[in-house]
Amino acid sequence: MNCGEAQQELALWVGQDLTDPVRIETLRRHVAICPVCGQRAKALKASLVALGSLEVPQTYDTIDSLWPEVEARIMARQSQPPMRSSLVIWAALGLLSLVILGGTAWMWRTTPPSAAPAVTPNEPVAPPLYPPSPGHQSSGISPAIP
């Protein structure tokens, strides 16, 4: 094992978080003979001791269990009148209807009216309102009314 490999695992080794016994033994031997890694291992252990000085957070004595209050809150939530939940459902449905209506109205407004062809191919052509002037070639479409 070289120093690079050892340094990668030292942090887990000092906290006894390496699981492979062969690896643990190899690392232990390396640390015993390598002053650099030995020093690093010492520093890591010392820092873990310092970390351990953090006090356990103060908590309530759980002779007074949280359960009575948790249970009371569960019961309070369960005993909320069903009216409220149905109101929420009706409000949601109303909102949904408004959205659908609004969306439909918006689409209707923004869609251009479809331009129907003035004359369909099979539709008989109406006779012109005015007789064509002499020399005029009929296009088959009635002239626009002035």
Partner: protein
Amino acid sequence: MRTATRVTPTPMTTDQTILDGDDRAGDARLVEEARRGQRDSFGVLVRRYERRLLRVIGRFVRDADAAEDLAQETFLRVYERLEQFDPSRRFAPWLFQIGVNLALDYHRKQKRRRKIWSFFFSDSRSERPLDPATPDPRESQELEAEVRQVVDRIPEQFRLVLILRDLEGFSTSEIAAILDRKEATIRWRLAEARNRFQEFWERRLTK
């Protein structure tokens, strides 16, 4: 707010796990009963885990009252989501996952609030108010404050693993379950967290 006495529980040894095989089987049965409407079964689960949950939350939230509120909220959320719980998974990591997430959210909000406060009012008061109920061992408090400052400098993803492993004694596989990550990821983060803590701790001494 309850007027319960406060105690300092005995520290947890590092080889303790949050649940053994018997608890695991018992948890599954209790969850199933609670799902069927037997509220008392959920009460057994609350009593089984409340002390430990309070300790863990207390690592992130230093106010005991807030920690208690968050623990209650955790149990409420768990109860409301029992139907979503996958029975093939363990109950305890799921419970602690919800609790840790709530505690972290609270911690982040508090941190933002403190930042805003210190921006407008440069206040030299200690961030951690002294508890009048405890004796005043100045030296250990100073050391603790220093350790806390160094821990707070570590990025959250590493700090979280460091706290759960080295202060709360969860195994790396339990932390993996709580944080919903692979164990290899947790081990890497743990090594990184310890290295960073050591580095910041030494740098503090050389200042």
